[in-house]
C-alpha cells in the first residue's frame, strides 16, 4: 500500500513536471508582455524585463522557475503587484474548493438518489422523466444555467443573494446549484445503468433466491455494488467542475481561483497561469489518486499495486 502510493506519487510528480514544462513553453509563445500598462515605451519594457529577469534566455528562466517551484515558490504575480502566487492561490483556493466540494456533494447525493430511483423503476414513467431531466442537465452548460438561475432567483424572484462569498451561506446556494446540476446528472445516469446491470447479475439472483426480500436485496447487495464504480467518476467530474467554476465564479463574483485564472490569461500573468495550472493538475491527479485508494478500501476485489 505505502509502496503503491509512493509509486503513484512519483508518477504524479513526473506528470506534473511535464505539465509544468509544456505550459511554461506554451506560455512563451503567447503574444505580448506581462505588463499591464499599455503606455509603456519599448525602452521601459526593456527595463522591466531586465528587472524581472525576463531578458534571460528562456531555458534559464525555465530552470529558475523549476528551482523556485521546488521551494514551493510559484513566483510573483505581474497583475497583482508584489503578491506571491502561492498566496493568491492559497487565499482563493479554499473558496473554490468549498464551492467545488459543495457542488460535488450535492450533485453526487442527488445523483445517487435519482439514479437508484430510476433503476428501480426501470422503463416506467418516473424513469423516463428522470432520464430526460438528467440528460437535460448534461446538455446545459453550467454557465448558461448560472445565468438563468441568477436571473430567475436573484433578479426576478429576489430569493437569493446575487453575488459575493463568505457573508452568508445563502450566497453559496445559486452557484452550488449551477455547478451541481452537471455532476448530479452524470451520476444519475451512471448509477442507473450500473444499478440495472447489477440487478441483472448472478449474485443478485442468488440473493433473491435467499428469500431475504427485494428491499434487503437492493439495500445490502445492489446498492453497494453499483455505488463503487461511481468513485471512478469523481476524478473526471472534478475536472468538469474546475472548468465550470471558472465561469460560474465570474458570474456570481466569487473570489475563487477560477475567476482569477480567467482574468490572468488575457493579461498574460505567467506566474498566475502557471501556478493555477499546476494547482489544477495537482488537484485533479490527487483526486484521482484518492478515489483509487478509496475504491481499494470499499471494493475488496481491488488491491493496490
Amino acid at each position: 500500500m505505502a509502496r503503491y502510493i509512493l509509486k503513484r506519487v512519483l508518477i504524479l510528480v513526473i506528470t506534473l513536471w511535464i505539465v509544468v514544462t509544456s505550459t511554461f513553453f506554451l506560455m512563451q509563445i503567447l503574444p505580448g508582455t506581462p505588463y499591464n500598462n499599455p503606455k509603456l515605451t519599448a525602452s521601459a519594457i526593456e527595463q522591466l524585463n531586465a528587472t524581472y529577469g525576463l531578458d534571460k534566455p528562456v531555458i534559464v528562466q525555465y530552470w529558475d522557475y523549476l528551482i523556485n517551484l521546488l521551494h514551493g515558490d510559484l513566483g510573483t504575480s505581474f497583475q497583482y503587484q508584489n503578491q506571491s502566487v502561492s498566496m493568491l492561490i492559497g487565499q482563493r483556493l479554499p473558496i473554490s474548493a468549498q464551492l467545488g466540494v459543495q457542488a460535488l456533494i450535492v450533485g453526487v447525493l442527488f445523483g445517487l438518489w435519482f439514479g437508484a430511483l430510476s433503476a428501480r423503476h426501470q422503463n416506467q414513467k418516473l424513469d423516463g422523466f428522470l432520464g430526460v431531466v438528467s440528460t437535460l442537465g448534461i446538455s446545459t452548460p453550467s454557465f448558461i444555467l448560472a445565468i438563468v438561475l441568477l436571473f430567475v432567483f436573484g433578479y426576478q424572484l429576489n430569493w437569493l443573494p446575487v453575488s459575493g462569498w463568505g457573508d452568508s451561506f445563502s450566497q453559496t446556494v445559486l452557484p452550488t446549484i449551477a455547478l451541481a446540476v452537471g455532476p448530479a446528472a452524470i451520476t444519475t445516469r451512471f448509477v442507473r445503468s450500473e444499478m440495472i446491470e447489477v440487478l441483472h447479475s448472478d449474485y443478485i439472483q442468488l440473493a433473491r433466491a435467499k428469500g431475504i426480500g427485494e428491499g434487503q436485496v437492493i439495500q445490502k447487495h445492489a446498492y453497494r455494488n453499483s455505488m463503487i464504480p461511481i468513485l471512478t467518476l469523481i476524478g473526471p467530474m472534478t475536472a468538469n467542475l474546475l472548468t465550470g467554476s471558472t465561469l460560474v465564479e465570474n458570474i456570481f463574483s466569487i473570489p475563487g481561483i477560477g475567476q482569477q485564472f480567467v482574468s490572468s490569461i488575457p493579461t498574460k500573468d505567467y506566474p498566475v497561469i502557471m501556478g493555477t495550472t499546476i494547482v489544477y493538475a495537482l488537484m485533479l491527479m490527487v483526486m484521482i489518486l484518492i478515489t483509487d485508494i478509496l475504491t481499494a478500501f470499499v471494493d475488496p476485489r481491488v488491491r493496490l499495486d
Partner: protein, 523 residues
C-alpha cells in the same frame, strides 16, 4: 429586509461602493490599474489634489510656486503632517517616493511619467544614481527641477502614484509591501482595512491623522468587488451600494438613463481608428482614408453600437478633458468638422482605388475583445463601409485579446485598428503627443503629417507656458489631422452612473482619481 438585512443607504456615517474588478496592489509606485488607484487615491494624499473644478489644489502642500520658465516647482508642505500610524510625514517621504518611482529596481510601470524631471531618464536607464534626480527637500520645502517646461506637471503632483511613501515602511515590508491593507500606511483621508490581497470585501475608515480630518465627515466607506454589472445594478437598487455604473452595456444604459439618479461625467478617453499608413497600400492613399472617414456616421455609431453610452467624436481629444482659457470645452474649441457624407465618400473611394490600382480593397479591422461595445463597434464599421463601398471593399474583423492587439499595434501588424486611449492628465497634450512624430510611441499607423507635427511641437515648446497659444496650436493640429485623414475619431467616453442623491461632496475627474471621496458624506 429579512434576507437582506437593514437598508444601509440611510446610515449617515457610512458610504457603500462597489468596484468591478479586484484591487491588485497598494504599492504606490507600482499600481497600474484603475481600482488600485481608486483605493490609493482615497487613502494616500499627494501634494495637490484635484478639486471639483478640475484644478489641482493644495493637499499636503500648503502652497506651490512655478518659476516663469516653467522649469522649477517649489512646494511648501503643511506643518505637522502625520501618517496614519502617527509617525511624521516629511518632505523626505515625498522625495523618496519620486526616487523610488524612477529607480529601475522598483520596476514601476509608471516611471515614464516622471520623464522630464531633471535626470529622470538617465536614472531610469541606469546611467545615473537616484540621488541625482531633480527632486530635493530642505526642511518643509521640496524643489522640483525639470528638463523642459511641462504644463501638465502640476497634475503629477496630484497623481496617486507619486504620493509620498515612507522609506522605513517600504524597507520593512520588503517584498510584501502593499500586498495587504496592513502592509501599507496611509496619508489620506481614510485608512484602508480588511483587504488580504485577494478578497472582495474591504473598507476605508476615516484617518484621524489626516491634516484635514475635521472636514472628513464619513467614518467608513464599505467596498465590495462585484464583477457582474447587472448584479451591481441590482445591489444599487436594493440600496446596498451608493453608486453604480450603467455604461457597461447599451441596454443597461437605455433602461436606466431616465432614472432620476443618473449622473454623467466626462472621461478622458477617446476611441479612434488608426490606419496603417506604413504597410498598407490602400491606406497610404489619402483619398481612401478620407473616404473611410466620410463613410463613418459617428452619431449613428454612438447610438447604435454604444447605445448612447459614448458620445460621437468631434475630434481626437475627448470631450470634457479640459477647458480653454475662455472656459469652453477644449474638444468643442478644436473640432475640425468631421462629417458623414456617403456620396462624397463613394466618389473619393473610387478615385482612390483607381490611384492605388490594386483591385478590391481587402483589409482587416482589429479590436480587442474586452466589451460588447467594442465588438459592436467593429461590426458597425464593417457593415457601414461595406454597405457604402459595396463589393469594392472587404473588411475582416479581427477580435483578439488585449495583449495581442497591443502587440499588433506596436509592431504595425494591422490594417485598421480600434484604439482606446485614456489620457493621463487634464491637458490636450495627453492626446496630441501621441503622434508627436512619425516614430512617436503611439503613432502605430506611422503617418507623416508635417503640419500636425509642427503644431504639436509648437505647443510643447514655444507655447508651453502660454495657454491660449497652445489651444490654437491644438486646433491647428486637429485640422491637419482631419485633412489628411490620418486617424478616424469614433467616440469620446463618458461615465454614466446611478448615484444616490443623498451622497454629497464626491469629486469626479475625467482622469487620475476618478472618484474622490475625501469629503463625501451622506446628507
Amino acid at each position: 429586509a429579512g434576507w437582506w438585512g437593514s437598508n444601509p443607504s440611510s446610515d449617515k456615517n457610512t458610504l457603500n461602493y462597489a468596484m468591478s474588478a479586484d484591487v491588485q496592489t497598494l504599492d504606490t509606485s507600482k499600481a497600474t490599474d484603475q481600482y488600485s488607484n481608486l483605493v490609493l487615491g482615497n487613502t494616500e494624499s499627494n501634494l495637490l489634489r484635484v478639486n471639483s473644478k478640475g484644478e489641482p489644489a493644495p493637499d499636503l502642500a500648503k502652497s506651490y510656486k512655478v518659476s516663469d520658465d516653467g522649469l522649477t516647482y517649489t512646494v511648501e508642505l503643511r506643518s505637522g503632517l502625520k501618517w496614519s500610524d502617527g509617525s511624521k510625514l516629511t518632505a523626505k517621504d515625498v522625495v523618496y517616493s519620486w526616487q523610488r518611482m524612477v529607480n529601475p529596481k522598483t520596476a514601476s510601470q509608471y516611471s515614464y511619467l516622471a520623464s522630464g524631471v531633471l535626470n529622470a531618464d538617465d536614472i531610469m536607464a541606469g546611467k545615473k544614481d537616484v540621488s541625482e534626480l531633480g527632486v530635493s527637500a530642505s526642511g518643509n520645502t521640496i524643489t522640483f527641477k525639470l528638463d523642459h517646461a511641462m504644463p501638465q506637471f502640476k497634475y503629477l503632483l496630484a497623481f496617486a502614484n507619486f504620493a509620498p511613501q515612507k522609506e522605513s515602511v517600504v524597507n520593512k515590508e520588503g517584498d510584501k509591501y502593499g500586498t495587504t491593507a496592513d502592509k501599507q500606511i496611509y496619508s489620506g483621508a481614510y485608512k484602508f482595512e480588511g483587504w488580504n490581497g485577494t478578497n472582495g470585501k474591504f473598507k476605508m475608515v476615516k484617518n484621524d491623522n489626516y491634516w484635514d480630518a475635521k472636514n472628513v465627515k464619513t467614518k467608513t466607506v464599505n467596498w465590495q468587488v462585484v464583477k457582474n454589472p447587472d448584479t451591481a445594478l441590482k445591489l444599487y437598487k436594493q440600496g446596498k451600494i451608493d453608486r453604480v455604473s450603467i455604461s457597461n452595456s447599451p441596454e443597461m444604459y437605455s433602461a436606466n438613463k431616465n432614472n432620476k439618479d443618473v449622473k454623467s461625467a466626462a472621461v478622458a478617453a477617446a476611441t479612434y481608428l488608426e490606419y496603417n499608413q506604413a504597410n498598407n497600400a490602400f491606406l497610404k492613399n489619402q483619398k481612401i482614408r478620407q473616404a473611410l472617414n466620410l463613410a463613418t456616421n459617428r452619431t449613428e455609431l454612438a447610438s447604435q453600437a454604444t447605445g448612447g453610452t459614448r458620445d460621437a467624436a468631434v475630434s481626437l481629444v475627448s470631450k470634457g478633458l479640459t477647458k480653454t482659457t475662455s472656459g469652453e470645452d477644449l474638444a468643442a474649441y478644436v473640432k475640425p468638422g468631421y462629417t458623414y457624407d456617403k456620396k462624397k465618400a463613394q466618389q473619393l473611394f473610387k478615385e482612390g482605388l483607381a490611384e492605388v490600382n490594386q483591385g478590391k480593397m481587402k483589409i482587416s479591422l482589429e479590436t480587442d475583445a474586452d466589451s460588447v461595445i467594442s465588438k459592436n463597434t467593429v461590426d458597425y464599421i464593417k457593415q457601414a463601409w461595406e454597405s457604402t463601398f459595396g463589393s469594392d471593399i472587404e473588411v475582416t474583423e479581427k477580435v483578439v485579446p488585449f495583449k495581442q492587439r497591443l502587440k499588433d499595434s506596436q509592431s504595425g501588424d494591422f490594417d485598421v485598428v480600434v484604439t482606446n486611449w485614456n489620457g493621463d492628465y487634464q491637458d490636450g497634450s495627453t492626446f496630441y503627443d501621441l503622434f508627436a512624430s512619425k516614430d512617436a510611441g503611439y503613432n502605430d499607423g506611422k503617418f507623416t503629417n508635417e503640419s500636425y507635427f509642427a503644431a504639436v511641437k509648437k505647443a510643447d515648446t514655444t507655447d508651453a507656458t502660454n495657454a491660449s497659444a497652445r489651444q490654437d496650436d491644438f486646433k491647428d493640429a486637429e485640422k491637419a489631422l482631419m485633412d489628411d485623414a490620418n486617424i478616424n475619431p469614433l467616440y469620446s467616453w463618458k461615465a454614466s452612473s446611478l448615484v444616490r442623491s443623498n451622497v454629497k461632496g464626491v469629486v469626479e475627474s475625467p482622469v487620475g482619481l476618478t472618484l474622490d471621496l475625501t469629503y463625501a458624506h451622506r446628507k
